[in-house]
């Protein structure tokens, strides 16, 4: 930043030119940062503020009453139950898919990658519709299911399956590029040295992908908790039973209990913020360790 005013060192001129060619002048940097921050304020910070403001507008007592209401508690329990099923399954899937795609060559790989992305692109509404057509009483499997007294839609299994559908790509997408980029030399080395496949995975692959994995799990978790459109179609909205947190929020909003709706939303938001904070802390720690190791 500083330029000696008296003697112009040749080195310095080069440095200056160099900088001009590899980074932007301060005013451009500041403008760009300002634009980016304004954009993010309008789209991220303000909506977040609205939720938190709405939740605590009438004080912590009202907030607590809303989140400890029996229906709210049952919605929280149901949401946690669903996450406890969906996230481990999608984690296994993500790791398996990334392993097979990144470490092996096979035909149709790019089609497989496209397919894994697909749930991102399918409207939640269509997802709900698919399962109603499949498992509804008027659907293909519905009569058989009801004659065996099994319930899929309008019960927990249906909600689990639509959420698993919608959040399927998150972990896989995080891991595939990461593992592809890391190649397979380290694994091969470990295997040649006599370790078996599992050992290699636990001691070589997992440490390399753990941040991507954690990040993917966090995202998958958040998305699973927040899924709305598809769940709305297959849940049946039974109070205290098949209402997940997002559905319960909609119920409260429709009961004109806006503060309560925002209070339950703030729980989900808070959870999202906490997971994001954990992720940041973990990254920061790692960076610092690397920096210390480097010096």
């Amino acid at each position: 930043m500083t330029t000696p005013s008296t003697v112009i060192d040749t080195n310095d001129t080069i440095a200056k030119r160099w900088r001009r060619a590899t980074e932007e002048p301060a005013w451009i940097r500041i403008t760009l940062i300002t634009i980016a921050l304004t954009f993010l304020t309008l789209f991220l910070v303000l909506p977040l503020t609205v939720v938190l403001y709405g939740a605590f507008e009438r004080g912590i007592g009202v907030w607590y009453a809303a989140v400890s209401d029996p229906d709210a508690l049952s919605a929280i329990r149901l949401t946690l139950l669903i996450v406890a099923i969906v996230v481990p399954l999608n984690t296994l899937f993500g790791v398996a898919a990334a392993w097979s795609i990144a470490k092996f060559e096979f035909r149709g790989k790019s089609v497989l990658i496209s397919l894994i992305d697909m749930p991102f692109a399918i409207s939640p509404v269509v997802v709900g519709l698919i399962f109603v057509i499949l498992f509804g009483s008027q659907g293909w499997l519905g009569p058989w299911l009801s004659s065996h007294d099994m319930r899929i839609i309008f019960a927990v299994p249906g909600i689990v399956i639509v959420i698993a559908f919608g959040t399927l790509p998150f972990i896989a997408r995080e891991l595939i590029p990461l593992m592809q980029q890391q190649g397979k030399e380290e694994e091969e080395a470990s295997l040649t040295l006599g370790a078996n496949g599992w050992k290699t995975f636990w001691y070589v692959t997992l440490p390399n992908i753990k941040w991507g994995l954690i990040y993917g799990i966090i995202l998958c978790n958040a998305r699973a908790m927040g899924e709305f459109g598809a769940v709305a179609v297959v849940s049946g909205r039974i109070r205290g039973e098949t209402n997940t947190m997002p559905l319960h929020i909609e119920v409260l909003y429709n009961e004109y209990m806006f503060t309560a709706a925002f209070a339950v939303s703030s729980l989900l938001t808070g959870l999202a913020l906490v997971t994001i904070a954990i992720k940041s802390a973990v990254e920061w720690n790692e960076e610092r360790r690397q920096r210390i190791a480097a010096t």
Binding site: S114, A121, I122, V126, V132, P177, L191, G226, S265
Partner: protein, 276 residues
Amino acid sequence: MAITLVKRRVIPGFGLTMGFTLLYMGLVFLIPVGAFLLYTTTMSWETFWNAISQRQVVASYKLSFGGSLIAATINLVFGGLVAWVLVRYRFPGKRLVDALVDLPFALPTAVAGIALVTLYASTGWVGQYLDVFGIRVAYTQLGVVIALTYIGLPFVVRTVQPVLEDLEAELEEASASLGADRLTTIRRVIFPALFPALLTGYALAFARALGEYGSVVFISGNLPFRTEITPLLIVSKAEQYDYHGAAAIGTVMLVAAFLMLLIINGLQWWASRRHG
């Protein structure tokens, strides 16, 4: 080639992982989608065509595709910018900002819709100032675009960011030492390297916006022909017990989504051949 063959045998677990991948995808997603497509084939071509070509339906495609395209473009520009700023510059609160980018993934879409309409309605914090200039956001097509931009925001940022981080400084330095000025370096070196990631992010944001329902219904006026998105129309058909109509329109959305992803893949393949 001989070496890769040997290597392939060294790493185990292909059968197991591929088997699980296909089994899980099959159960959760491929078989249901397949069954759904099969269901649409039970209706005659004429019924199908009538269902998907009604004027009201066509108007909703225009809004859904048009709105998603605009939203994805906004995200391409600003998302790319945000990624750049987050990777290359230092400013206070950067880590917090970086973390916040994931919020649209994490916040339930219904909550996002309620929050956005609270903000942008003409009584809202932001809406009241826009109202002075005669700009109405809530209940207009602009509102739809805002909601779609919001939900697609993380895609571009999160696909571009890692590539930008991995972009080796040597390349830029080499370009600079060959006498290129900054603009040329950005145009000829950085942009081509980012291009595939930008494209992927763009396409994902677009695809995600196309299907979005939860947040849009709150901020859109939901007026047929004007502010009615296709997913809402699907719900509305299903609620009128018209499953065939709903499934037919749903199929159009599915095919559009799949084409979109194939195009991304094709472009990525093309880009990696060109630059890789």
